[in-house]
Assembly symmetry: C2
Homo-oligomer: 455 residues x 2
């Protein structure tokens, strides 16, 4: 079960096929490979010529990892078939991460031992731990249901507000709904959603899909059960809900204030329009990747604020990326406890075990390391500014997909670096968290402990 | 002893005069206030006019906190008296931090309890814990001794190599030696040490003073005693020596490679000159603040690499700034142990207690928070780029004193922000570490534990 370090050869061999971390990595690699092959078919491009292999690999990785960075314009470069492949890859990637992460939660609960399990079930009435097939079915139904509702809302708006033909409205509605719920950020339009910047009938359904998809299935499931009784929520749900609200409010205020008088972004809008666009930008930073204003025209303080939001990301076991709000929350509480001189880290009458804190630390440090290394390398490879390169690296690592516009101009080796970063950013925190948590030994029970997934 | 949180009023009142953290903060504030008053005298400026109060405050803070950022040119703006005040403030600040930090180490060892103390003494033959006056005397003698040797070397070089007059050579030699040993980075020359870029007889003594001063007194003391027996070194000494060497080598290689063909920095030099200048830049980033090439002309990847080196900083209980290599090392080992699946964090046959790991986490997180907040604020206050502003904020927080050249152009409220950042960066990690460590309760002994100061 070790990530690193010496393990006897026989154990390595048997572990290879059993460890969930490897199952996740190889499933995603398989999906990327299949996607690359399909996008390399001549029929996948609008011109009918075979796509460049790096472009196909980049697009497939970006779609499976629900990132949304693109080296070629989705709407004009790919054919209808190519776009369908991308949509399928997004759906597979989004469902895959949700399902695998939720099943890992189940697996982790099983390993907690009888007493903890009993307490956890009694306390939170969370997912039935034995019903794996039921869990998968619920996730699929929930995803498709949300996507259908948002697709219907968007289609109606495109029909009524923009007088699109029925076929076009449905296609645009479905594509953007799937892309939004899976936090993928792919758009048919080269300028993403900038044409709808002050249209709440497009912005709000997209934002709602992004937020719900980004909460993560375990949290949504628990919210659905105990909507009115927050005292029954698990630490994971409390942290996720509180931090989602806090980051959305803080992000909206910061971005709206910073861009208020920027003529190239919010400047031309009226006050409600500014607020809507600021809110939308704040939602998309975590980590959906659509944009309704030109990211390249943002002020540097807005770019850095967005970098921070992107790095933190969304909820665990959902379609959002980043180090996750739970990781951020556990570290924040650890810091707070330390400054108060408490020996234990408590979140709402529950003690976060030290091993859980160390996992959060590991995920955050490796994330900072990955983004810094990639930024340094990209700076050396290109002539772009730190603003642009840090944004691009953070966006790739946190699978956000926003860009200041440099993605298509990057040299091929920089694109390969981003591919690695997207893949590592998507499966890294999850596999790391599961590898670390599964390996952990049970020790003494002092207080009823409770685990929150970090990463 | 709490930093935050509710404490009975009587306890707050008595604690106010006893807590070492408050002693440190108020000593430094007093030194800054005295320095500001002296630099506000008309006699302190070359023109004979009263200096602007913010400039006086900025310079006094920069000197006491041994940072080296300046809003006015040290050599031309201040009179001989003003420069002497600055030199005195540097010496007071440098000796102050060394003495207070070393005494805190003593205080901490006392609190460890008899058994741990016995083990620590028997094991490491470290400082005699009862002899406070002796410790202070040794620190003063050691500092003045190092400064005298370096001043003599520099004076000889200025006399022989640059044909300066005796008075000028001695003055320049002493000023730069004191500034170097205290990691202050103040220079008489407006362009720092760029005129000596390829002169090893100036660069090497300055680099040696910076490195020795930045190791910290406890480490130097232990090295002097057990030079040939690294197995007897404490964790603090091992971490400090290993990481100092590793960061110097990595920094030299990275900066030399990145700037090799940059016509505005290393480009015009021959190969040994490039290596010397790269080495010098790497030493100065941690966290001395002299420069032999124009920082504003560095490539963006070099600036970011320097940011990282500056943030990590030098040794604890020395004149260097940053979060300190011990903090960085403890976090690195915690990450490594976590990835190997070990429940304890071991460094060279010693277990780092969890409370120690949490202190390192707190210091690093607060440091990242301070630099990010300051960078965001400075970006909003000015029109400078992220490159420049991140560098300036990191340089101020880590009390480095390097600058891309924007310090003097900043609006006054940005200068006030830098003053706060320098002060917090200088006393923050130390007081935080001591506040956290002193408050900690003794619990069970499992293995012989050993403490390394972080921050
Ligand atoms: K995305
Ligand atoms: K300095």
């Amino acid at each position: 079960m070790r990530l690193l370090g010496r393990v006897p050869a026989w154990q390595r061999r048997t572990d290879r096929f059993r460890h969930p971390a490897q199952v996740i990595a190889s499933s995603f690699a398989l999906a990327v490979a299949t996607g690359t092959l399909m996008l390399s078919l001549p029929a996948a491009t609008a011109s009918g010529e075979r796509a460049d292999t790096v472009d196909a690999l980049f697009t497939a990785t970006s779609a499976v990892c629900v990132t949304g960075l693109v080296t070629v314009d989705t709407g004009s470069y790919w054919s209808g078939f190519g776009q369908a492949v991308i949509l399928l890859l997004i759906q597979v990637g989004g469902l895959g991460i949700m399902t695998l992460a939720t099943l890992l939660t189940v697996l982790l609960s099983r390993r907690l031992g009888l007493r903890a399990r009993f307490l956890a079930q009694a306390e939170t009435k969370s997912l039935d731990l034995t019903d794996v097939r039921g869990v998968v079915r619920r996730i699929v139904l929930f995803s498709l249901g949300c996507e259908a509702v948002v697709a219907a809302a968007l289609t109606a708006r495109f029909l009524v507000g923009y007088r699109e033909s029925a076929g076009s409205a449905v296609y645009h509605g479905v594509f953007h709904a799937v892309s939004a719920f899976n936090n993928a950020g792919f758009s048919i339009h080269a300028d993403s959603l900038t044409r709808y910047v002050d249209d709440p009938w497009v912005n709000l359904p997209v934002a709602a899909a992004v937020i719900v998809g980004g909460l993560g299935f375990p949290v949504v499931f628990e919210l659905a059960r105990h909507w009115r009784r927050p005292t029954r929520w698990s630490v994971m749900t409390r942290l996720t809900v509180a931090l989602t609200v806090a980051l959305l409010v803080a992000g909206t205020l910061a971005l709206t204030a910073a861009e208020w008088s920027n003529d190239r972004t919010l400047g031309p809008l009226d006050a409600p329009g500014k607020l809507l666009a600021g809110f939308f930008a704040s939602v998309m930073a975590r980590t959906a990747g659509f944009n309704s204003v030109d990211i390249g025209a943002l002020r540097p303080e807005s770019l850095l604020a967005t970098d921070i939001l992107m790095f933190i990301g969304g909820g665990s076991a959902g379609t959002a990326g980043g180090i996750k709000v739970t990781t951020f929350g556990v570290l924040g509480f650890a810091l707070w406890s330390e400054m108060r001189g408490e020996t234990h880290v408590n979140v709402g009458h529950r003690r976060i075990p030290p091993s859980n804190q160390r996992q959060a630390l590991a995920i955050a440090l490796l994330g900072i390391g990955a983004v810094m290394t990639a930024t340094l390398t990209l700076l050396a490879m290109t002539t772009h500014t730190l603003d642009q390169v840090l944004f691009e690296a953070t966006s790739a690592f946190a699978t956000v997909g926003l860009s200041t516009g440099i993605t298509a101009d990057l040299p091929q080796r920089a694109e390969l670096l981003l591919i690695v970063l997207m893949f590592a950013g998507r499966i890294g925190p999850l596999t790391l968290a599961s590898a670390l948590a599964l390996r952990e030994r049970n020790r003494r029970f002092e207080l009823p402990e409770e685990r929150t997934i970090v990463g």
